[in-house]
């Protein structure tokens, strides 16, 4: 597909998702309480969208990831939260 075709097929969907994302951040700001590690990772991931460098999806995914290399001592839970909890120590 050329760029015009990509825009024709995906622009409205991407616009919709961008507005939804903006509304999410407004909703978080309106709510009382403190940020946690997930929001910190989220804001870091947003920086991966800036500029014209490629591989944005990869950069966003890495911003949420545990990038350490050793297995953890024990699985304390089964679920995943979407962001690495020790992000602050990075």
């Amino acid at each position: 597909m050329n760029r015009q075709q990509v825009l024709d097929l995906y622009f409205l969907d991407a616009r919709h998702k961008l507005v939804d994302l903006a509304a999410f951040l407004d909703r978080v700001d309106r709510a009382r309480g403190r940020d946690d590690f997930r929001l910190k990772a989220f804001r870091a991931a947003l920086r991966g969208l800036e500029g014209r460098k490629r591989n944005r999806a990869k950069r966003v995914l890495l911003a949420f990831s545990d990038l350490t290399s050793k297995p953890v001592a024990k699985a304390e839970t089964k679920g995943a939260s979407g962001a690495w909890k020790c992000m602050a120590s990075r």
Binding site: M1, Q5, L9, Y10, D13, N55, A57, K58, L61, L62, F64, S65, D66, L67, T68, S69, P71, V72, A73, K74, A75, E76, T77, K78, G79, A80, S81, G82, A83, W84
Partner: protein, 283 residues
Amino acid sequence: MEMHGITMRYIEPHAHMVSRVTDDYERMVLAGCAAVCEPAFWAGFDRGSPAGFQDYFSQLTEHEPKRAAKHGLKHFCWLCINSKEAEDVKLAEEVVALVPHFLDRPNVLGIGEIGLNKNSRNELRVFEMQVELAARHNQLILVHTPHLEDKWKGTRLILEALKNDPRIRPDRVIIDHVEEHTVEMVLDAGMWAGMTLYPETKCTPARAIDILETYGQERLWLNSACDWGVSDPLAVPKTALEMKKRGHHAAAIDQVVFQNPKRFLSQSPKFKLQEIIPTSKSG
């Protein structure tokens, strides 16, 4: 669905049909599904004993193929203890000891979906135990990579463990649930990569096609991994439709959704796609 005048066909290489309703089988067949493959996975709760797994393996090898056959669909499966129940090593050892008793069943393709969940030492130990089982019995391997923040690290640990066993041939291993940050390391290791199409996590159809366009379609396949969670058993044909919208030719779509899984799975002599006659009232 038709693709440039050709009726679409696809293989669903990863679906947890034990947690789906029978109507899903009908919808899949209507959409062109030629075979469904079901890896052993977590039931949403921890089983209390090895006997729970014994029953599950019987369900995957006896009951579910009959249920699929009622709609003219071939059903295959993979056996293992999944990573979410691998923290209890003693239980895992007992379950792994059960698996060889089922490997000769006609619809068993290999060991899977083994892998990691939270990247713990015990999970890794149980993963290696099952790689050893696969090597000893010359079985194909299907690997689950962790969710979300744990995926990148888990994929690296999995690849290291597989590379450490010289008996494992990379082209007989599929690493599933890859995304943009893990697909390259899997393909570089010579293994196959699976992309899972989920509405909220893993890949969307658009992103999966981006990955195909970026990395080529030589050793990639698509799956719905439909289960008891938010998932769509028709995710593969819907992605085929998205490929068509982007201008991919029918032959290229057929390679991704039919030929590629057929090529990998046919490494097991049990994977055959011949017509089957639906059974009557059994099951």
